[in-house]
Amino acid sequence: MERFNTKNALYPLLGFVISIVTLVYGLIMARHDNIFYFYACVWVLFVAFGYIRSCLAVIPVALLMCLTFGGITYAISGNVENTVVALSRSIAIVLAFIPGLAVSSTLFIRNLQQFKVPKVIVLGMMVALNFFPILSKEIKQIKQAMRTRGVTTIANPKVFYRALLMPLMSRIVNISDTLALSVETRGFTTDKSSVTIYNPVKIDLRDVAFVIIFATLAVLTAVL
């Protein structure tokens, strides 16, 4: 997800809230006449706030979802109005992903810490975020190692799975053991001892501006 990071993302939790508001607002207002204008404006707003990469990345997904859900709705109901509503909801879902995609995991975690979210949850998230890249790297290594030991095909499934799973299990157990010990010896405890936050994330003027514009758009859409 790193490639979607913007240099100047919104305040992480705000990004998260905007995602949810966009989604809920879109779902509720799906039948409103102006809703597509709202989507267009929000999309432009995101682009203006530096989310260009995520904005472009969601276009193919939006098309795919619109085709699928719109297509299914039209095939079942044959009703144009219902199809438009389905399209509208699909777009709302996709749009809600934009700030989510661009949230930097580091900032989001720092943000959670600032709001005194229990440390175990924060650490769990940190580890989980790292885990998938590690896992894919491990599997790649193991597959190479399997070839060096002559296990190249699945022809002998028993040996194949052994050669894949045994090292994988041992590595995962090993990595999690080391990781657990490492964070503990680096002073991480689950009790309520005092913790400081280096470099906390702060709300700035951009964030406020974004909220004002976003809220105005939402109100205008509903009123006009």
């Binding site: 060096t148 030991r149 095909t153 010990l181 964070v183 010896t185 680096r186």
Partner: protein, 486 residues
């Protein structure tokens, strides 16, 4: 190196270092809960002093890491067992204290830096420990600058793209930043090249000169020789202070002799032609061209992250070069650019940097027989590597050093014509190293195999080298003989 700028503890006055006892272990005995008969530590007395660098050395599996875990509280907090005796850290007993509490006094650098990194950016990783002990953000900022200076890291770099050596330095930096006065390190040099090792040891030396107490657990004595004050030897659960330090170190770090005397043939086995390898836009290897003759022992040397392992993987056909080709004369059916198949790996034995990936059978015996050439040959290999007593053990239950020995034995048992070894000596104590190198050379004499080794280990590199290829930042700096390894 002269840029080193260590100002971690401002309160210590260089001239009056108080060499008082930092860690004092008295009559300590310990056995693991699952193996109550064997005392891993037997009535041990040991101490660390402020202002000193201490070295704990000894064979693999003698209890070095156990002592390490006792000092940082992992034993008995995480690992169960019977413990008796007293452990005083900074004058206070740590028995009954949590790891978190002990970590405020003792900084530990664990093995396997690779699995310990949790943050995406270097500065945040360093800040992690400091945040946990409630350091003020301004102080953290200063600590990040200091420890990045000492370990020569760029604070803005992404952690995921670091090389093994850089990761090791980062994990060391995270501990240094926390500022504890007692620092213990478990095999910190395992993945570091010469320059990296010297840099780390020098930094530790300077910390000690500022009043820190440092304990290094290490096999590579040749690298730590000049930096330590006291040496402790661990053997069969007993720890003794070594009085004649220089003699002990000399005995353990003499370069191993090369027993191979025969001359190499002139038949070319591999011909590398302008081999390059890129990952996205980053060039890892560039224009690598050299020949490897039949029966030659080639060593690839170079600093951390210069592309040694990548080159070995390309030769072993685990990955394909982006440009260039490698002609081989092992067998014409393998072609020049085909993917490595089952037959290929029968002729080309590959020993991985990390043995955990290559072991998967339920017992060591089955592991060795899996691709074994014949029963007799396997038996011979078992005897050579002294694995008799481990035959019925589960490979994953062995120590790292033993696992590595088993991996090497399993690959050799298949009687390959070409042997590719990636850092085969990591985690081997001197006796095992000697056995390993002599066995490799013995088999080389008998089988006339071709060996290509990647290693940093100064103790043995000369003993397995006919030709040395020196890499620097992905390009060949020099190709020559043994003299390049010095």
């Amino acid at each position: 190196m002269n840029k080193l700028n260590i100002e971690i503890n401002e309160n210590i006055h260089n001239k009056h270092i108080d060499e008082s006892v930092a860690v004092d272990i008295k009559n300590l005995s310990f056995c693991y809960a699952n193996n109550a008969e064997v005392k891993v530590l037997n009535n041990v007395n040991f101490n660390m002093r402020y202002g000193n660098v201490a070295l704990l050395a000894g064979m693999s599996g003698q209890g070095k890491s156990t002592l390490f875990s006792v000092i940082n509280g992992v034993i008995p907090n995480v690992t169960n067992g019977n413990i008796s005796g007293d452990i005083l850290v900074d004058g206070k007993s740590i028995i009954g204290k949590s790891i978190g509490d002990i970590s405020r006094v003792v900084g530990s650098v664990l093995q396997n830096a690779d699995s310990q990194i949790i943050q995406p950016i270097i500065a945040d990783e360093i800040a992690f420990g400091c945040e946990n002990i409630g350091m003020l953000p301004m102080t953290i900022e200063k600590k990040i600058i200091d420890s990045c200076n000492i370990m020569q890291l760029d604070r803005t770099h992404k952690t995921r793209t670091l090389s093994g050596g850089q990761k090791q330095r980062l994990i060391t930096a995270t501990t240094l930043a926390m500022g504890q006065k007692i620092i213990i390190l478990d095999e910190p040099l395992a993945n570091l090249d010469m320059a990296g090792s010297a840099m780390l040891m020098l930094s530790l030396r300077r910390l000690a000169d500022k009043g820190y107490a440092v304990l290094v657990i290490e096999h590579r004595l040749d690298m730590v020789i000049e930096y330590v004050d006291t040496v402790w030897n661990i053997d069969g659960g007993n720890i003794d202070k070594v009085e004649d330090k220089s003699k002990y170190l000399e005995n353990q770090s003499v370069e191993i002799e090369d027993i191979v005397t025969e001359k190499v043939s002139n038949d070319i086995l591999f011909q590398l032609q302008e081999v390059s390898y890129n990952v996205r836009t980053k060039s890892i290897l560039e224009d690598i061209s050299f020949d490897i003759c039949k029966g030659e022992r080639v060593v690839i040397v170079g600093e951390n992250g210069c592309g040694k392992t990548t080159l070995l993987k390309i030769i072993s056909r685990l990955i394909k070069p982006t440009y260039g080709r490698i002609d081989q004369n092992i067998n014409s059916k393998f072609g020049a650019r085909k993917k490595g198949c089952k037959e290929w790996y029968k002729d080309v034995g590959v020993i991985y940097q990390n043995p955990n990936y290559q072991l998967f059978m339920p017992t060591v015996e089955q592991e060795i027989l899996f691709n074994g050439y014949s029963l007799e040959y396997c038996q011979k290999i078992v005897d050579m590597f002294e694995l008799g007593s481990l035959l019925h053990r589960h490979p994953q239950s062995l120590s790292e050093g033993q696992k590595r020995k088993v991996t090497i034995a399993t690959v050799l048992a298949a009687r390959p014509k070409v042997l590719l070894l990636d850092e085969p000596t990591v985690g081997q104590d001197y006796a095992s190293l000697k056995l390993l190198i002599n066995n490799l050379n013995q088999i080389h004499i008998e089988e006339q195999n071709t060996m290509i080794t990647v290693t940093h280990d100064k103790r043995c590199v000369g003993a397995i080298c006919d030709k040395a290829v020196k890499l620097r930042r992905g390009i060949i700096q020099e190709v020559g003989g043994k003299e390049l390894t010095l």
